[in-house]
Amino acid sequence: MASHEHRPLGGKIVTAPFLVLLVILFVAVIVLTQRFAFGLGAVTHLSDGYPWGIWITIDLIIGTALGCGGLVMALLVYVLNRGDYHPLARAGLMTSLFGYTLGALAVLIDLGRYWQGHNIFFPWLWNANSVLLETALCIFVYIIVLAIEFAPAVFERLGMNEARRRLHKILFVFTGLGVLLPMMHQSSMGTVVVLLGYKLSPLWQSHLLTLFFLITAFTIGFAAVAFESVLASVCLRRPFDTPILSRLTGIMAWVMLGFMIVRYADVVRLGALPLALAGDAKAVSFWIEFFLGAAAVLLLMPKANRSSPRFIFLGATAMLFNGALYRLNAYLIGYDPGDGWSYFPSLGEILVTLGIFALEIMLYLMVVKLLPVLHAARRAAT
């Protein structure tokens, strides 16, 4: 059935924006050559106080959350059996595949002794008590699962109908895993920062971090789908998926409202509110995060707004940046290792991060043009 709904966009791969992205990627590759030749210290501002910088925080922690579009769509379409959201599912899966693959790439780049990275494949070398091991294995397996979930699109393009038919029979297993695995490791990303203890400001430190990271995986994942859908419509000259997005947005507005209530009730319960009035960088970041969340709810809650691509775009953007900033705060801005440590990403770190995002957009542009990913039924109407 899906075969009738998705079609490759076709068109030229190498366009002006593509070339710009290629230049950004090229710069990142130069920086990375330096990083692998001379070590992390040559390129990054990482230190003993801040062993994780933006490569982990933005590329992995936020990057994989952006890749949770696949999780949100798989949950809605297959688990809750809401087939009407199906047109967005394949695009969601694709974003997930890219988000996670590039997240894993970021980990490899950030791994100090990357030549020992293969040790994760040997179970007898595992530290079974490590939360990071769970996260790493989960992400690794999930990338494989995503590849399998996305495989029908490739089979369809290559005309491998027999393989597609066979895969379709067992695909529900992978869809199930595709929902389970990200829920496991996205919540574990919250658990990791619980372990930071007092080093994380009470504005973010909470026993509910696990839950908050799971919810932000959903809000960011959804926002990424909506954001990407609107952006694709404008940039690739496609019609808006407004009716589907509108319904989805309605659900997410309530999820976001629920998240806001639990999140800030928790801050009040923990007595951390005075810190929000401290006037330092942490407090400013806390309020920006709060206002982005509030803006998302206010923009998306009124029913009339939900039929306007502009409000959906603005609301989804606010929701996306709320979740992203929440994660950035919990991992980096709210984190203070004490002893005078400070950190601000180096130019090299920023360029590599930009390069990874450029690569993601380039892959997206290539794949939607070559593979049947985007919903075709509406396109036919134009």
């Binding site: 076709g10 230190s47 407004t242 950190y343």
Partner: protein
Amino acid sequence: MLGGDHRPASHDFGDLDGYAGALGGLCRRDFLKFCTGVAATLGLSPALGVRIANAATDPGRPPVIWLSGQACTGCTETLLRANHPTIDTLILDMISLDYHETLSAGAGAQAENYKDQSMKRHWGSYVLVVDGAVPTRDGGIYCKVAGETFLDSVKKAAAGAGAIIAMGSCASWGGIPSSGPNPTLAKAAHEVLPDKTIINVPGCPPNAYNLLSTVLYLLTFAKAPDLDDKNRPKFAYGRLIHENCERRAHFDSGRFALEFGDPGHRQGWCLYKLGCKGPETFANCPAIGFYDTGEGAWPVGCGAPCFGCTEKGVGFTKPIHSLATVLTLTPPTAFPSVGEPRGEGITPGAAAALAGVGGAALGAGAVLASRLGKAAEPASEPAPTSDDRQQPSR
């Protein structure tokens, strides 16, 4: 009827005055080790350990009479914490603790009689330990034991004492009871016994081994150990805490805890700025620790600033968190901060890159949002203007 007589026959104890019996089960080797340890604490040659052992087990050894006045029993508690040897071996065998209001088995007239007998029998040779300050206002009526004021019993016991030890800060220099407003006009032992030489073992409480070592020194050599100008044994109170503190290196490097629980405090930095009185207090706390519980078992070792309990005019007098007067070396007024900046911060390149990306994203977002607003109505008919709009080739 009651299942027989369970009292052990007297021969179970063996010869009470010989080594095995007198030491309450402590074997000879362990006891000699202890005495050698005492010799080391006193700064004496280890060979003197044997002499100490002989003195401690001498059947005719002078008894210790312990009088408690305005005290909190902390000094007795500290004695109970001695565990090489344990308290039972200590008071039954090693020193002859003949009278102690808290530890005596007997009570009332029985205990008082025993005290009088013991004092009479050993007149001129027993060791008197005074613990607690002596109230002197209104004839000393604010502390009485057995109908007698503490002032009188101390004077009476001191008359026949071979040596007098003031145990704890209260007895040594007045301690808490003498702090303002001092309603009972509490005084130190040496103030009410002006014509006697009193060995002061101050502390709140003092380390039990300081008392024990002093007593054994008296028994062994029949004279007081070397005393400083405040009559404190030099072996225990000859050195400044600050000079022997395990945190001293932090003081010299200017690494100070500024608040309880701050990063410096957590990492065991110097407590001077939290009001530690180590720089003006003489005691051996950092050197021997308390009660055999291992390294660092003393206030500064566990993160609590020293409050100067062994020094008159410091403990219970200076505010706990006020800065100490550093006797040896005054620190410079400016020290490096606790949080010495480390790691690398923002660089112009990074700032420019971030600003560029942020600006571009903001601009693109704004343009997009405005275009979306215009496009909201004719959404189904976007104007094809770029290569990307091309129809699929297949």
